[in-house]
């Protein structure tokens, strides 16, 4: 037995409460349009008429004007409820159809009702009033049927199904089945929004990460089990630490991939708290996650597996704790002419879908770049460097054996900042540069890239060719 509630006037949220009072299995077909699974409820609430009265009483108590219908199929119940909501007066009694009589009962209903329940997109937007909803009269099939002279569902149901399918295809067959009051698919119950949160009040305030580690394990393990039962993973992990000072220390971790391994989540939280510790003792711990559908992995027999996102997240967090924020990731070539410009992005390699290649190539000379150019004293002869003295311990200067240059480069001169000696390279630098670059090989065989800042005339070592 199925039921349908069609809201004529009132709040759609209140209608959901009415449905929840009767059954947890109901489908939201549209705003103010619910289909209820009433199977087995007769033993609990009595005859279907009693059930219908209970629904009507509950709706009236909330000030709702609702059309109610019950039938052996969900389609028939919805058609009847819609028709009742539009045509019959508000005082009409709920409609209850005995199982097996659906086709006969829906036969006199107008054919346009099928277009209404067939296309959810024809429903009014959620902020519109329920009585603004209109039947979709412009449906192609509806026009066809009207040209054929069909007016009611019974007219369509009386046609041979195979003849309708031959002329109109599967869409025509669907309409034919709906006109008979038959269901095309099972009911899809709406799932209530779940909260994935765990909290623990501590008898004694705790300080330090070690005792907190045990508390986090205790909270995260049931949370991970809950996520696993629901086939979900954590997209964002929230930690709220209520302190003895009545302050709340909050941290949120955005995870690179949905994950639900309790140990990984605990490690990530602890590593984050190492760099952002709570300022006072903790007396309440709350862990919550924003759920997202879990990952589905398909490993390859032919390719080397990549580390899982859990492993990479833990590794990145540990490396960040050692090296500092923003000092590990994947490099990217920046869209800039600035020497040494680059960008960093989080390290998240994707599986290689192309066949791996192992072709040999000619090596390329690499530059070992000083992120902050090292100042140097350069003696020149007719503009050509002849001797370089480098102002850094460990870097030997000397006479220039061979050199090539200069290559003049400049950029960002259209910005307001004046050129600064050395021109800081790398991320975030936006100062102008204007310089002459030279490649010089010194007496010890080392080849350097040096440059002279044209604004100040100062010399700098940019890097070593290696």
């Amino acid at each position: 037995m199925f039921g349908a509630l069609y809201l004529v006037d009132g709040s759609a949220d209140a209608l959901l409460e009415v449905a929840r009072e009767v059954t947890p299995r109901f489908e939201i077909c549209g705003r103010g349009d619910l289909a209820l699974d009433l199977a087995g409820l007769t033993r609990l609430l009595g005859h279907p008429h009693a059930l219908a009265r209970e629904l009507r009483r509950s709706a009236a108590a909330r000030g709702l004007h609702v059309a109610i219908a019950m039938a052996g199929t969900c389609t028939a119940a919805r058609l009847l409820a819609r028709h009742a909501g539009r045509v019959v007066t508000a005082a009409a009694a709920p409609i209850v159809v005995a199982p097996g009589a659906e086709a006969a009962v829906v036969a006199p209903l107008p054919l346009a009702l099928v277009a209404d329940i067939e296309e959810p997109s024809t429903l009014a937007p959620s902020n519109a009033l329920p009585h603004d909803r209109t039947v979709a009269p412009s449906h192609d099939l509806l026009s066809t049927f009207r040209r054929w002279g069909l007016q009611t569902l019974g007219d369509l149901a009386a046609l041979p199904a195979d003849a309708v399918a031959t002329r109109l295809g599967t869409d025509g067959l669907r309409w034919h089945r709906l006109a008979e009051g038959r269901d095309l698919r099972p009911l899809r119950p709406a799932v209530a929004e779940e909260r994935f949160e765990q909290a623990l009040d501590l008898e004694w305030p705790i300080e330090g990460l070690e005792p907190l580690s045990f508390v986090l394990s205790r909270l995260l393990e049931p949370l991970a089990a809950h996520l696993e039962r629901r086939g979900r993973g954590a997209a964002v992990l929230h930690l709220r630490l209520h302190l003895v000072t009545r302050a709340v220390h909050e941290r949120s971790l955005e995870l690179p991939a949905p994950m639900r391994d309790a140990r990984t989540l605990r490690t990530l939280l602890l590593l984050d708290l190492e760099s952002h510790p709570a300022p006072a003792a903790i007396d309440r711990v709350v862990v919550a996650v924003d759920p997202t559908p879990a990952r589905v992995l398909q490993f390859s027999l032919l390719q080397r597996p990549l580390p899982s996102p859990e492993q990479l997240s833990t590794l990145t967090a540990r490396l960040t704790a050692v090296m500092g924020e923003g000092r590990c990731g994947s490099p990217m070539v920046a869209d800039s002419w600035r020497p040494g410009a680059f960008e960093m992005k989080p390290f998240s390699p994707t599986p290689n879908l192309q066949a791996p290649t192992s072709t040999s190539r000619t090596p390329t000379v690499a530059l070992r770049r000083f992120r902050q150019p090292v100042s140097a004293r350069v003696r020149t002869n007719e503009g050509t460097p002849v001797h370089v003295a480098i102002d850094r311990r460990g870097l030997d200067g000397g006479c220039v054996e061979r050199c090539a240059g200069p290559w003049r480069t400049s950029g960002d001169w259209w910005k307001n900042d004046p050129p600064v000696g050395g021109g800081v390279v790398g991320v975030g630098s936006c100062r102008a540069w204007d310089r002459d670059e030279w490649d010089v090989t010194l007496g010890d065989g080392a080849t350097y890239r040096i440059h002279r800042d044209r604004a100040t005339g100062a010399w700098f070592v940019e890097g070593i060719y290696d």
Binding site: L319, G324, R327, F347, T362, V365, G445
Partner: protein
């Protein structure tokens, strides 16, 4: 007479072979390791001599003076690993990695984990770099893991405990990772790894018809001169094999 004397020897050898007693620990090793057991460097001549590349599960070294081509060989190794679909990690002790050079060497940068060290003081920088190296090796899953110690002062190298590289070797053993140190001198001295000793000689040339090239005459060179590449001489030191030949490779400027 000679045939008569050799007959018992042949008989003895046959009997030993039948009982599989004709082998020593050295000869039971596979004659040629498979490609899976080695991480190819991407330099054909070098891979041929190394029998496929640098051994996985071992600690190898790229050693040389400044401008000897250490970074060129390192980038080639990383590029070859990323081309194979593997992921690689670079622990950059003094933050001297040049992204443009890596892109020119055809490194798939999305598959490279770059760990940027903080250069000063050198002792602390080396300590942090070694911690990072251990974390990466323990995480596993990387085809090539490299640590760049090329510009570490000799005093800082001397201050490192001698067990450091033994521990690294223990961590990497049995894994599919080829761990590589880039340094000014041999440090690891692993029994299973290889050491590539490099020496480089810069080459200057004068490209024809290049309007963007130098405007003035350089020292000892004519107008239009530029650094065109480095001639690398690679000597392979292996505790298991004697390799006397020097391999000559050229690295181009791109």
């Amino acid at each position: 007479m000679a045939n008569h004397a050799l007959a018992p020897l042949a008989l003895l050898e046959t009997a030993l072979r039948a009982r599989k007693l004709d082998r020593t620990l050295t000869t039971t090793l596979p004659a040629r390791p498979s490609a899976e057991a080695a991480a190819a460097t991407g330099i054909a001549r070098l891979d041929e001599v190394l029998r496929g590349g640098l051994p996985r599960g071992q600690l190898s070294e790229i050693v040389g003076a400044r401008s000897s081509g250490r970074s060129a060989v390192l980038l080639q190794l990383v590029a070859a690993a990323t081309r194979r679909g593997e992921i690689a990690a670079l622990v950059d002790t003094f933050d001297q990695f040049d992204v443009a050079s890596a892109a020119a060497a055809d490194v798939d940068l999305t598959r490279l984990l770059w760990i940027r060290g903080i250069g000063s003081p050198p002792d602390r920088a080396v300590e942090r770099a070694l911690k990072a190296l251990n974390l990466v090796l323990q995480a596993g899953g990387f085809g090539v893991v490299t640590i760049d110690l090329a510009d570490v002062p000799a005093s800082a190298l001397r201050a490192m405990p001698f067990t450091t590289w033994l521990r690294v070797q223990r961590t990497v053993e049995g894994s599919d990772t080829a761990c590589v140190i880039v340094g000014p001198q041999p440090l690891g001295r692993s029994a299973g790894g290889l050491t590539l000793m490099l020496d480089g000689r810069p080459e200057y040339s004068r490209p024809q018809g290049s309007g963007l090239r130098p405007q003035t005459e350089a020292r000892g060179l004519g107008p239009g001169a530029c650094l065109s590449g480095v001639d690398l001489a690679v000597r392979v030191v292996s505790p298991r094999r004697q390799l006397d030949d020097e391999i000559r490779v050229r690295a181009d400027v791109r």
